[in-house]
């Protein structure tokens, strides 16, 4: 109804925009004067390159400059060292060896660790932890405080095979879609049978540093903001602030586990 009313009102408004006879004749006369043998120009709209593309590229270019500068500096030092007479070089090396025997390079028995032992000790140190979820090899479960849905299981991509449709114990089918719009992705899970009324609330939770928002059912205002679908379907919509593509989403989300 709303749609019909909007259509009617908008059409009436647009009907006031007409190509007048004078304008039509003027355009025709201009076209007749034009040289049509000139090849058509490309009128494709140049799309703006988004910041999330520019920033990593600019960052990478900057890193290359820094590393390049560092390597050049090292090369310069090596050249200078090569010019040092052999005796001085040996003395310098002796000093370097003494300097390196410090702190953790001393073993419990007081001896100095060998090169390989030092390397092993360094490897034992905790590697820097990544804030990004390892979606390739780890699974994540997020509890969602909504009636009808207990938790969402995100399975490792490596383990996932093909289908994105899952039948749960109520016989409800969950279908997965993505809708890339603007700077966010949406994943929609449609619960066809209507048993799983997940309510109108929305919930957000984190998987790693990924903010995931679960929207409510069709009663929720967010529904219209997210997707335009058949009103008979019940569904939830997951929104992520990460730019996962369709394939990745299909592999991440295994399905909806419903509560009793």
């Amino acid at each position: 109804m709303e749609s019909d009313k909007l259509r009617g009102e908008y059409k009436k408004a647009m009907e006031t925009i007409d190509l007048s006879k004078d304008s039509r004749d003027r355009i025709l006369s201009n076209i007749r004067l034009e040289d049509l043998s000139v090849p058509a120009a490309n009128v494709k709209v140049r799309k703006k390159v988004p910041l999330f593309v520019i920033i990593p590229i600019a960052g990478a270019a900057f890193a290359v400059l820094i590393i390049g500068g560092f390597l050049l500096g090292m090369g310069d030092n090596l050249t200078k060292n090569a010019a040092v007479p052999a005796l001085e070089k040996d003395e310098q090396l002796a000093v370097d060896e003494v300097d390196s025997v410090s702190g953790r390079d001393i073993q419990d028995d007081g001896g100095v660790k060998t090169g390989s032992a030092t390397e092993a000790a360094l490897e034992e140190e905790d590697p820097p932890k990544s804030l990004k979820p390892d979606i390739n090899s780890k699974s994540y479960t997020a509890n969602v405080d909504l009636p009808g849905i207990g938790s969402l299981t995100f399975l490792p991509i490596d383990d996932y095979t093909d289908s994105v449709v899952k039948d749960d114990k109520y016989g409800a089918n969950t279908h997965l879609y993505t809708n890339k719009s603007g700077d966010k992705d949406f994943v929609k899970i449609t619960v066809v049978d209507g048993i799983n009324d997940i309510g109108g609330a929305a919930a957000s939770f984190n998987i790693g540093d990924t903010l995931v928002t679960l929207y409510g059912s069709k009663e929720n205002d967010e529904y219209n903001k997210a997707l335009y679908i058949n009103e008979n379907n019940m569904f939830v919509v997951i929104e992520s602030n990460k730019g996962y593509d369709q394939k990745t989403w299909e592999k991440i989300v295994e399905g909806v586990v419903t509560n009793d």
Binding site: E2, S3, K5, L6, R7, E9, Y10, K11, K12, A13, M14, T16, I17, D18, L19, S23, R24, I27, L28, N30, I31, R32, E34, L36, V38, P39, A40, A41, V43, K44, V45, Y177, T178, N179, K180, S181, F186, N224, K225, A226, L227, Y228, I229
Partner: protein, 192 residues
Amino acid sequence: MVMLFSSGAESVEKESTSSKIDYSTFDREQMNERAEYLLDNYGNAILRLAFSYVHNKEDAEEIVQDSILQLLRAKPVFENTKHELSYLMTITSNISKNKIKYNARHATVELNEEITSDQTPDKSDDHSFILEAVAKLPVKYKEVIHLFYCEDYSTAEISKILNMKESTVRSNLSRGRDKLKTILKEEYGYGI
């Protein structure tokens, strides 16, 4: 039969859509005749599409002319008139977007004046405020709203014309409609 000033999708339906149209075989006279045909059959449709982007009738008419010239120069081959109209709509959409960018780069006081001058539809018209409300939407929303509500294209057809995914069209349509409803309610006290 040529219908004078009918809307695009409407006229296409009333006409045979099976005949192939090969612009590369046209001589200059035939090109002129085709330009006349395009203006008479799709003139209003492409003018309104262009207007939905630029909200200025003078600019919209210029876009109509450029769109037809672009088509004639490209010398394309169409399977039917529906295909021809879709192509024309795509060209119009692209030229309109380029025009918006050009206007933004060359923004002057004159441009602002045009928005409120008599270039816009007759204010006495009861529905003109809808056009003003749509004009306030971002381009990505108003283009799908126009094609869906004014030209009666399906979301699948719009996705082809605008060269975007159908799901994006549906999403933009839904979001645009929400925004439009908000603008109409808050700024014009009009509820849909």
